[in-house]
């Protein structure tokens, strides 16, 4: 394990302080500063949506009124209308959490993902809650959705025909390699429920995937991870140790820990690693749970398809978007 001394999200305090500077005009630069040869890729993502089809009820709870697939669709459509190169990804635990799952077994969740045109997802532990058969029997409701997992060995199960270690997608000439990582089943998924599917070391799997995707000419390597953001003081893989140990990954879209990051976490790649030394720091993002947030990261590529920078969107949705 590398010793991790500092992993820094942009804190809200820092944000506010800098916003004040921005308001003074000191740091303003013209909008949309992109050279004509540059290309933008917009990645939208969710994790741990947990069968939350409807908004949280107005019951005084912390999340009342938030989330809901119909609103998420409005947001996604709006962004797609403004950008050509958009990916929509999910980091697992689509299933479980409301009676929609208990009664309809995942049909509504997957039909909604199909309607929203999700591109790729990875498997969370709760996606096995009705067993491998219970999962596979639902997948036809989202026929275009691709599932990736590089460390779940699925060859001995019915998932074999539905899950690939990675996929390579192209958007506007940008090649994006996307692989998935799942969490250890122990204590989370009963043996009967993942019968035929076994767990392999995610770090080793990630190294292989990052190398393979680079060799395949990918301009961006994305990991959909259901490992969890960070386990302090525990010797188990998480998203922070993942990017530290696998410098070939450009962005980890995480899940499982339901972490509401104030901002994406940027992790500088180990200088000695060679791979990625000429690239911006790796990013980790995770957007809580239940579809309360839609994650958005924009990646800018130069004319040769080289990733030069990224930025994290910040805007509030208000009634102007109704």
């Amino acid at each position: 394990m590398p010793h991790i001394t500092n992993v820094t999200p942009w804190s809200r305090r820092e944000f506010l302080g800098r916003s004040a500077a921005a308001a003074a005009g000191a740091l303003l630069v013209p909008a949309g500063v992109m050279a004509a040869s540059e290309k933008r890729l917009v990645i939208l993502h969710t994790n741990d949506t947990h069968s939350r089809m409807d908004p949280f009820p107005m019951d005084g709870g912390r999340n009342e009124g938030l989330a809901g697939v119909a609103r998420r669709q409005t947001l996604i459509d709006r962004i797609r209308a403004e950008h050509r190169n958009v990916l929509l990804l999910d980091s697992g635990d689509v299933f479980q959490g409301t009676p929609y799952f208990n009664v309809f077994k995942g049909e509504v969740e997957l039909k909604a993902m199909h309607a929203m045109r999700y591109d790729v997802a990875t498997l969370g532990n709760h996606d096995f809650d009705n067993g491998v058969d219970g999962l596979v029997d639902m997948l036809h409701h989202a026929p275009d959705l691709k599932w990736v997992s590089a460390n779940y060995e699925v060859a001995e199960s019915r998932l074999e025909r539905h899950v690939e270690p990675h996929v390579i997608l192209e958007r506007g000439g940008i090649r994006i390699g996307i692989f998935g990582l799942g969490i250890a089943f122990d204590g989370l998924v009963l043996p009967d429920l993942h019968e035929g599917v076994s767990y392999n070391d995610p770090i080793l799997a990630a190294r292989r995937q990052a190398d393979a995707l680079r060799e395949a000419g990918c301009d961006l390597v994305v990991c959909l991870s259901h490992l969890g953001y960070r386990y302090r003081g525990e010797d188990r893989p998480d998203d922070v140790s993942l990017v530290a140990e696998v410098p070939g990954i450009d962005v980890v879209l995480g899940g499982h820990t339901h972490t509401f990051l104030d901002a994406p976490v940027a992790v500088e790649r180990p200088a000695a690693a060679g791979v990625g030394a000429d690239r911006p720091p790796a990013l980790i993002n995770q957007v809580g749970f239940a579809g309360i947030r839609l994650g958005r990261l924009d990646f800018i590529f130069d004319g040769r398809g080289r990733l030069t920078r990224w930025y994290a969107a910040h805007y509030n949705v208000d009634d102007r978007y109704a």
Binding site: L27, G65, R71, E82, A115, G295, Y311, A313
Partner: protein
């Protein structure tokens, strides 16, 4: 374990603020979702909150609507009544007694060999059952988790240890076992009304959560022969309430202070 690498005094990972921040953006009062105003040297959040002022997409609403309607029908179905409001309590509560009784009942109804003892945890019972009609939806609120019932084959001395766990925990929902708490230890332990027989094995029905390391009864965490009938705790509760009609559990001294 020996680490080959030494601790670096240089932070290995740093905020990328200085180099990258000039490309980061903030919306400066523009009307588009696209932050087309001014980009500032600022870290953005990387997400948009899905708030209630966003319009709901009609097609998605229409997709979900029939399921929601069916769910509302299913969830509002009355499966029984509570004679009085059932709440959880320590060392013993009527809601917990109902839950543990339901586990024994529903296990036996699967055709499995009955269990001697059922144990669950108060933490898994999320809301009271109010006096009057009980709907399916209320049982979902009571037990939102998908915990499965498991049966552990436990030797007699482990059952004694488990009784001490229960006493130390201050009492959790049980059926089939009774004990008194004396100085945080179990006393007068009876299973099925009889003292524990050394050398015998006992069948303990509990949740996969408690058997897999959750909760505060470590005796459940050891590696016992285990059966996993395909039975969710929630479904056990529903089956029991439906079969019983009006549930009226009482405090029976299952776990009592001495």
């Amino acid at each position: 374990m020996i680490h080959a690498c030494s601790r670096s005094t240089q932070p290995l990972f740093r905020s990328w603020t200085l180099t990258a921040a000039s490309f980061l953006i903030v919306l400066a009062g523009c009307r588009s979702l696209e932050p087309a105003g001014m980009y500032t040297s600022e870290g953005g959040q990387g997400f948009v909150t899905v708030v209630d002022t966003l319009a709901e997409d009609p097609a998605l609403l229409a997709l979900v609507a029939p399921y929601r309607a069916e769910l509302e029908g299913e969830m509002s179905r009355v499966i029984g009544r509570a004679a009085q409001t059932l709440t959880k309590s320590q060392p013993e509560g009527v809601l917990g007694n109902m839950a543990a009784d339901a586990m024994l009942f529903a296990l036996a109804r699967t055709g499995a060999e009955p269990a001697d003892i059922a144990i669950t945890n108060n933490g898994g019972l999320r809301v009271p059952l109010n006096a009057g009609p009980i709907t399916i939806g209320r049982v979902f609120e009571l037990m939102p988790f998908e915990n499965m019932l498991v049966v552990l084959e436990m030797p007699a001395d482990s059952v004694v240890a488990l009784a001490h766990d229960l006493a130390r925990a201050g009492g959790e929902p049980v059926a089939g076992i009774s004990l008194a708490i004396r100085d945080a230890e179990a006393a007068d332990i009876l299973v099925g009304g009889a003292p524990i027989e050394p050398g015998r094995t006992y069948r303990i029905a509990t949740s996969d959560y408690l058997a897999n390391g959750g909760g505060n009864m470590p005796t459940l965490w050891s590696d016992y022969p285990r059966e996993t009938p395909d039975l969710k705790l929630r479904d056990a509760f529903i089956a029991y309430i439906e079969a019983t009609g009006t549930i009226a559990p009482e405090i029976e001294g299952r776990i009592r202070p001495e």
